[in-house]
């Protein structure tokens, strides 16, 4: 059974899907240089305008439902990917009260977000996945496999993460946070931008006029280090190869790699090597995190939407912030490229050496 992404919407620092794509093609980063999160340093962050993560999820999910061929989600499985879940609200309670007493444990856990959506929309069932920055990419992986085996007809994949003080300070403690707008694949890049987003995709087993096919998924573990990727890029290559194999296509069928591209020294060096070893310079490569920042558990879903839009619009997203490319053996495009895009690989990598790649393609 084939899987089709039939409807989607997102909200991030650059706005909704249409506004984000406009920013991507205009190379207009929505990262801000913030001085409120860290006591002693500036942080480049991707900050959204919203009341809270719950109401924002409801708004974005409602838009997807309205644009879909469904009347409701009663026969739909919800698969949500998040790295912080309800932490944003709970940590603020803890900082204010200086005790755990006022914290509802059910609001702390990852499924605080799924519980809310199940109550609001009456889903058939739900799952919450938390594999750090691959969370919503793995939600898409599970969605495809569940449709492959004919377990469900409709699966709503949600990637959602709000900014938390603990995550911003944590990445700062790891010395991987840039004070400025990040510059993926640039020789002078100096780190990532933490960001937040809600991204929602409806995956179904039926094709519509507007479908993008979720053709393949692949995953691997580096088994190398908790935060640094395997320097030979074995894990990243393995997840991409598995996704291509699942899609039944070869490297030559890929037009563009929507890279994980966080702009940390380690990630971009290794991911570029992985692309070089697998594709040479036959594919365009860019990271849209230069516009959105790294939306952590939401990144896989958000970048899947960016990839769907790129196929529909017929333009390869350009690499914002790039002046001097570090690895010149891959084709990082500084400007948009107009082309009939057939297939895209979108990568997500996470702490623990958790790697997930998905292949999205135009329907034939």
């Amino acid at each position: 059974m084939k899987s089709y992404i039939n409807n989607y919407e997102l909200h991030c620092n650059a706005g909704n899907t249409a506004e984000l794509m406009k920013a991507i093609y205009a190379k207009k980063s929505a990262i801000v240089e913030d001085e409120t999160f860290l006591a002693d340093a500036t942080a480049g962050l991707g900050i959204m305008e919203y009341d809270n993560i719950y109401s924002l999820m409801k708004e974005v999910v409602s838009k997807v439902l309205k644009s879909s061929n469904l009347d409701n989600f009663q026969n739909t499985l919800l698969v949500l990917g998040s790295s912080v879940g309800g932490m944003q609200e709970c940590e603020e309670i803890f900082y204010a009260q200086k005790s755990y007493k006022a914290i509802n444990p059910n609001k702390l856990s990852m499924n605080a977000l799924t519980d809310f959506l199940v109550k609001e929309f009456s889903f058939y069932d739900s799952r919450a996945i938390s594999t750090a920055c691959t969370s919503s990419a793995n939600a898409l992986l599970l969605a495809k496999r569940l449709i492959d085996v004919e377990a469900y007809d409709n699966i709503l994949v949600v990637g959602a993460d709000g900014l938390c003080r603990s995550t911003v300070m944590g990445f700062h403690a790891l010395s991987v946070l840039s004070a400025k707008k990040c510059r993926p694949f640039d020789v002078k890049r100096d780190g990532m931008n933490v960001a937040e987003a809600v991204a929602v995709l409806l995956v179904q087993n039926t094709k519509t006029d507007n479908s993008i096919e979720l053709k393949g998924v692949g995953a691997s573990s580096d088994a190398y280090h908790m935060t640094n990727p395997n320097p030979e890029a074995l894990g990243a290559i393995s997840s991409m190869k598995d996704a291509l194999s699942d899609a039944g296509i070869s490297c030559l069928d890929i037009d563009y790699v929507n890279a994980h591209g966080t702009a940390t020294l380690a990630n971009d060096k290794v991911e570029a090597l992985a692309v070089e070893k697998l594709f040479g310079n036959s594919v365009y490569v860019s990271s849209t995190k230069a516009i959105t920042g790294h939306t952590l558990g939401a990144a896989g879903a958000l970048e899947a939407i960016v990839s769907c839009e790129a196929i529909k619009l017929g333009f390869i997203p350009p690499q914002t912030g790039l002046e001097t490319q570090e690895n010149e053996n891959i084709k990082v495009n500084k400007e948009s490229v107009k082309m009939d895009i057939k297939n895209i690989v979108s990568n997500s990598f996470a702490f623990g050496g958790n790697n997930t790649s998905i292949v999205l393609g135009a329907c034939t």
Partner: protein, 215 residues
């Protein structure tokens, strides 16, 4: 709904009111530097996988609260304005325990981490069933909660065992004959997020080696 019949290859469980003793860390994680970084969930994971005879392959790991101790360390450091430990931050993600397993056992296969509140272990079983069905391979299905942190009594109203874990190795069965649906064989006092997998382990201990799971 699609159901899958699974053979239970092996199972193990462990729990303690406060702290589980003798997790055989020195044998299971001989490298001292690595061992010092292991979280409680990671140590329980290494112990349970060893008891199940699993040293590599696909893993589906479940935990409602996961690395609560590391999360608490970070929150307290933020509150006190002290330096955050990079190790605590990297160890705070929900896939920490299976990731340490992969590092120690050089396991490059897929890891999925489920955190579905009080139905975490049920969703972990369902996801393991899917992974077993798709791959045709043995899958480690493990769920762990270690919530023995300072001042936990301020919020813990539901469990008397602050550390608990359970694991089973599952493989797709050739047919559904004699496959049992999951019975309710709960262990009293264990947090609800582990009870469905506890039931499967208890079924296995009672001689049942084939279950039927709805995806």
């Amino acid at each position: 709904m699609k159901t899958v019949a699974l053979n239970i290859i092996s199972s193990a469980k462990i729990y303690a009111p406060q702290k589980i003793e003798n997790l055989e860390e020195k044998r299971l994680a001989p490298n001292m530097m690595m061992r010092r970084r292991l979280t409680r969930n990671s140590k329980v994971m290494l112990y349970l996988s060893d008891k199940c005879g699993f040293n590599g392959g696909k893993i589906v790991y479940g935990s409602c609260f996961s690395e609560l101790e590391e999360t608490a360390k970070i929150a307290n450091a933020v509150l006190e304005g002290s330096m955050l430990s990079p190790t605590s931050f990297q160890n705070s993600v929900y896939n920490t325990a299976p990731s340490y397993f992969s590092l120690i056992n050089k396991d490059t296969d897929e890891i999925i981490t489920i955190s579905s509140g009080m139905k975490t272990s049920l969703d972990t079983i369902k996801t393991a069933a899917l992974q077993a069905l798709v791959s045709g391979e043995k899958v480690l299905c493990v769920a762990i909660e270690c919530i023995n942190i300072k001042n936990i009594e301020e919020i813990n109203k539901c469990t008397k065992f602050l550390e608990a874990g359970v694991a089973v190795v599952l493989q797709v069965a050739k047919d559904e004959s004699h496959a049992k649906t999951i019975e309710s064989l709960h262990v009293e006092g264990i947090i609800d997020s582990l009870q469905d997998l506890m039931s499967v382990a208890n079924m296995h201990e009672n001689g049942i080696d084939k279950i039927k799971v709805e995806l």
